[in-house]
Symmetry: C2
Subunit: 152 residues, 2 copies
């Protein structure tokens, strides 16, 4: 797809980091033969799939893991590009809403309120990549602007 | 005690805020007749009491509540003095260590690593007040210095 070829460096770097995080948890080598697209498939939710997921009850632990992987990958990409650590802290209620922040020094480089975590997902793999890269870019701009605070 | 009379404004303000937070949870009026010192007593742990608390197993939920009240009181005191909100986020493992941060805008105004939360406590009520006020002062100094980030 021309999309993939034209995708900016950050997109590629973010997606690669996310895939490597997923593969890092593959202790038994079960996913070795699987392509990146197959591994990223659980991050994709079509509109119909979304609608079928109830938002009552505790969110699926696998979904929480994916939320954590997504933001951890953002943190690691920030780290690769700035050499400054970006630590995620998530506060999540049992009802599926909460807040995710990424902290670099004394700077909050990312702050997201999360709702309906039960339905966490993206319309396509390209969207995973683009949304992730967008958040990385915003964080990088903030670090650029307030580097003194990020280095505290 | 001359300590109390000479205590700076922030000390008094912090302790008052903490007490009001504790009283706010007194839904049935059971603590109405109790003095502030009595309410603050659970925050005080003597060396001997400390030693008697095992640090294995889940921390006592009442202890976690006190940790949250202590840092919430810091956040509220910051808010009273700067008119900027300071939101606490705590990440705590079952083993009793974790991290507490207070965020004001995009500024991390307080960042504490917490260990052995099972044994959270202070040698005296004065120490509760002084330690709290010290953390408030540090946060205020940081906000003063990076007000643009705190207001983001």
């Amino acid at each position: 797809m021309s999309d993939t070829i034209e995708a900016p460096v950050v997109d590629q770097q973010f997606l690669k980091t996310l895939v490597s995080l997923i593969r890092a948890e593959d202790t038994y080598g079960a996913w070795e033969g699987k392509s990146d697209d197959v591994l990223l498939r659980p991050f994709v939710l079509t509109k119909e799939e979304r609608r079928l997921i109830p938002i009552i009850g505790d969110p699926d632990p696998d979904t929480i893991t994916r939320v954590e992987q997504f933001y951890k990958a953002i943190g690691l990409t920030i780290e690769k590009r700035t050499r400054l650590m970006a630590t995620p802290i998530m506060k999540m209620s049992h009802e599926g809403f909460g807040r995710m922040v990424l902290l670099t020094g004394r700077l909050v480089v990312l702050s997201k309120h999360i709702r309906d975590v039960h339905r966490f997902g993206f319309p396509s793999v390209e969207a995973v990549s683009q949304d992730g890269a967008k958040l990385v870019d915003e964080a990088l701009a903030l670090i650029e602007k307030h580097r003194d605070v990020a280095e505290l």
